[in-house]
């Protein structure tokens, strides 16, 4: 389900880093030896086997990250991102695997389009990448794609991300047929008759600024519907980019009732509120929108208590000229692959709101589990998927630092803490700073 260019595997030793693997319960200063791309030994004073040695003192070595929600803009908008540039950005962000959404031009709704993407990924993907295929043809919301054939071709899951599946009847059929594929169905929950023309969260800030509101209930109503359908059909589903308190509540209830639902949340929804829109900066315009402080608190709580098990960047590159317009004319979406860890470390871990271990788990094992991917592990015999983090690094985020072809980051100009020093993905060193 994941594809990357083939390259020689790494032989190296990371010496003396604080090794944290929350899923394995490891938190100790250790040496880690990688032989031919596989973790071969953990311990102190390890024999280097004549491998290259990386000094890890003062740094954190963790399972590399998995991003379940990326827009690679290929095919169709290669000026904004390519598989090569997007996966290079992922490598710089500490990711060992990413999943790309199918709302490209054309939409990934046929085995032919998917097959071509997989070929490209095999030729140029720095980091293993999986491709979701559309639930409905052309994401039109009327006709199911040939999901079984798409799964056989290598689809990592199914989503109409960007547009909701408006028809409840069709949504039910997708859940039923999805069982045949064994792949996860991922849903963008938005009741379009409530959100239409909406520019930002509906509340005191939108009332003052004059923007048409995109109310929380536009999301939570659809979350409730889809959870009800999943419960009825006894099928799993994954909820994309939750933003509202009510959605978290609905998910918590459904999970308690035994519904196999997972969910993700973005760094920007965890770090910002609708107050940020007062800047009228098009780089704080996203769908779903930034919401109120109480929503943000609920998302952070949901992430901590495991209601939400995945952090997803919803990395959405946009051409500079498309974002350099009045807020209302700008497209939704911001980039995030290269800044996710720093954003969460700066805004949540440093202030003491969320433990580092929780962030590391929700950025790696959590999202992998949601899609049935192998969880990155720091254990003997596991493929080397490692990220080396410098928690003390403090730096300013500027346009020049991005490997992505687009620079529409909400963090531009901000000083953050927490840097990625090195990324090993599937046994290969893909990034080193």
């Amino acid at each position: 389900m994941l594809f990357a260019k083939s390259a020689p595997k790494e032989n190296l030793v990371v010496r003396g880093a604080r090794v944290i693997d929350p899923a394995a319960g490891v938190d100790a200063v250790l040496d880690v030896r990688v032989d031919d791309g596989v973790i071969a030994a953990l311990g102190t004073e390890l024999d280097t086997n004549a491998h290259r040695v990386l000094e890890g003192h003062g740094l954190v070595l963790a399972p590399a990250f998995v991003d379940p929600h990326v827009h690679l803009r290929t095919p169709g908008r290669e000026d904004e991102e390519t598989i090569a540039s997007g996966t290079a950005a992922a490598a710089a962000g500490g990711y060992c695997a990413i999943l790309a959404m199918p709302n490209t031009k054309p939409i990934v709704d046929s085995a032919a389009t998917l097959g071509a993407l997989i070929e490209t990924a095999r030729a140029e993907a720095e980091v293993p990448v999986g491709f979701l295929a559309a639930i409905t043809k052309e994401q039109g919301g009327t006709e199911l794609t040939e999901m079984a054939e798409l799964a056989d071709t290598g689809a990592a899951g199914f989503s109409d991300d960007g547009v909701p599946v408006a028809s409840a009847g069709l949504m039910r059929r997708a859940l039923q047929y999805g069982a045949v594929t064994g792949r996860r169905i991922a849903l963008h929950c938005e009741e379009a008759t409530l959100s239409r023309e909406g520019q930002m969260h509906e509340g005191a800030v939108s009332a003052e600024l004059g923007f048409t509101g995109y109310p929380s209930v536009a999301e939570s109503l659809m979350v409730e519907r889809d959870l009800a359908l999943a419960a009825y059909e006894r099928q799993p589903l994954h909820l994309l980019h939750l933003s509202a308190w009510e959605s978290v509540q609905a998910l918590r209830r459904a999970r308690a009732d035994g519904v196999a639902a997972t969910a993700e949340v973005t760094p920007h929804h965890l770090c910002l509120t609708d107050e940020a829109v007062r800047s009228l900066d098009p780089n704080v315009k996203m769908n779903p929108p930034l919401r109120a402080a109480s929503d943000r608190t609920a998302l952070v709580e949901g992430l901590k208590d495991g209601t939400i098990t995945a952090v997803a960047t919803d990395h959405a590159p946009h051409a500079r000229h498309e974002k350099d317009v009045p807020f209302e004319a700008a497209p939704f979406g911001v980039t995030g692959l290269e800044t996710a860890f720093a954003a969460l470390y700066t805004h949540l871990v440093e202030p003491g709101a969320v433990p580092l271990e929780t962030i590391l788990e929700r950025m790696s094992a959590g999202p992998a589990r949601a899609y049935g991917l192998d969880e990155p592990r720091i254990a003997v015999g596991s493929p080397a998927n490692l990220v080396l983090l410098d928690l003390k690094a403090s730096y300013r985020i500027g346009e020049e630092s991005f490997r992505s072809r687009s620079v529409n980051s909400w963090l531009l100009g901000q000083t953050v803490k927490g840097g990625v020093r090195m990324t090993i993905a599937a046994g290969r060193m893909v990034f080193a700073a």
Binding site: E202, A204, A207, L209, L280, P282, H321, V325, P326, E328
Partner: protein, 331 residues
């Protein structure tokens, strides 16, 4: 006056002052408003002279860029510039490169190349004046950006109320109608709150934005709530901003019957204002619009002098607190 300014600058380290704009009422203080209203008043007196033109802004360039249709605002800005002897240019979106798909940023950079002192912009999208301020060196005046702000309208309304009542503080103003789509309402609520007036919004539920009370006003859905107000400020039903099938109200007929400002609903002496253009027979009964208690024509006259004051204030950058009678002395 001019000498005093030179002396003051001599005492300061040389640093270019930050570019001043007039984009949102939120950006100004009550002192700023008082200064602008006083300046407008001096200009009103100057317009009573036989020769109405003042040489104050001679050699200055004011470009008016209008991406939306406008009669009052565009004509008053143009005349305000001319009355102060500035060179003025007016550009409308139709018939310009905008028709050819030029972006706002590129249009702004193009106009900025002429080194205008002021760019006055009206645009259907929130944030357009901020973008122009970012990419040009001009002082930017917001003549209306989407549903966000229309600060010179608020200023002329404050001026009108001050002239009619001799004060703004303590006045009770009822703003009636389509608040949701109204940049006029947003600027005016902030302006009135800034100057210590009391505001009640009266509208059908779907036309009252959720959360608007946080701006410092009360809300009501019953037209009876206008009874105690000193001023009834009637908003235009903005049919052009209402999407098909949105059903904010069932019909204009029902709106007029339930929320229209009619002679039966206002009391003698209660002043009525409207930013124009009016939908007579919808939000306002013609008998109210044409009554002696209506200040609608006064508002139009106030628009000219307050916009003169804004241009003057931005371009002369007088320090806050300067006695604004100097406007005429300089002239």
């Amino acid at each position: 006056m001019a000498e005093i300014r030179v002396m003051r600058e001599d005492l300061r380290p040389p640093a270019p002052p930050p570019k001043r704009h007039f984009i949102s009422i939120k950006d100004v203080t009550s002192d700023d408003v008082e200064r602008l209203l006083a300046t407008a008043r001096t200009f009103e007196r100057s317009l009573e002279r036989e020769v109405k033109k003042l040489p104050t802004l001679k050699g200055r360039l004011v470009i008016n860029v209008f991406y939306e249709s406008s009669t009052r605002t565009s004509s008053s800005f143009e005349l305000a510039g001319k009355r102060l002897s500035a060179d003025t240019m007016s550009i409308k979106s139709s018939g310009s490169s905008v028709d050819k798909g030029e972006s706002l940023k590129d249009t702004a950079i193009t106009l900025g190349a002429y080194d205008p002192d002021v760019i006055v912009i009206r645009h259907p999208q929130i944030g357009a004046p901020h973008l122009v301020a970012r990419v040009t060196e001009a002082h930017v005046v917001n003549a209306g950006d989407g549903k966000h702000q229309h600060p010179t309208q608020a200023l002329l309304d404050l001026y009108t109320m001050r002239e009619a009542f001799g004060r703004i503080e303590g006045l009770h103003v009822a703003i009636v109608g389509d608040v949701l789509h109204s940049r006029v309402a947003r600027s005016l609520i902030q302006g009135l709150a800034l100057m210590g007036a009391h505001v009640t919004l009266v509208a059908p539920p779907a036309l009252l934005p959720r959360g608007i009370e946080a701006m410092g006003c009360e809300t009501a859905t019953d037209i009876g709530a206008i009874a105690g107000a000193d001023v009834v400020y009637v908003l235009r039903m903005q049919q052009e901003r209402m999407q098909e099938g949105a059903n904010y109200v069932p019909s204009l007929r029902e709106y007029a019957a339930r929320w229209g400002v009619t002679p039966e609903r206002v009391r003698p002496g209660q002043k009525v204002m409207h930013p124009g253009p009016m939908n007579r027979g919808v939000e306002i009964d013609p008998r109210v619009a044409d009554h002696a208690d209506a200040l609608i024509e006064t508002q139009v006259r106030a628009g000219l002098v307050t916009r003169m004051a804004v241009l003057y204030d931005l371009l002369t950058s007088g320090p806050v607190g300067v006695k604004t009678e100097s406007a005429l002395e300089v002239a």
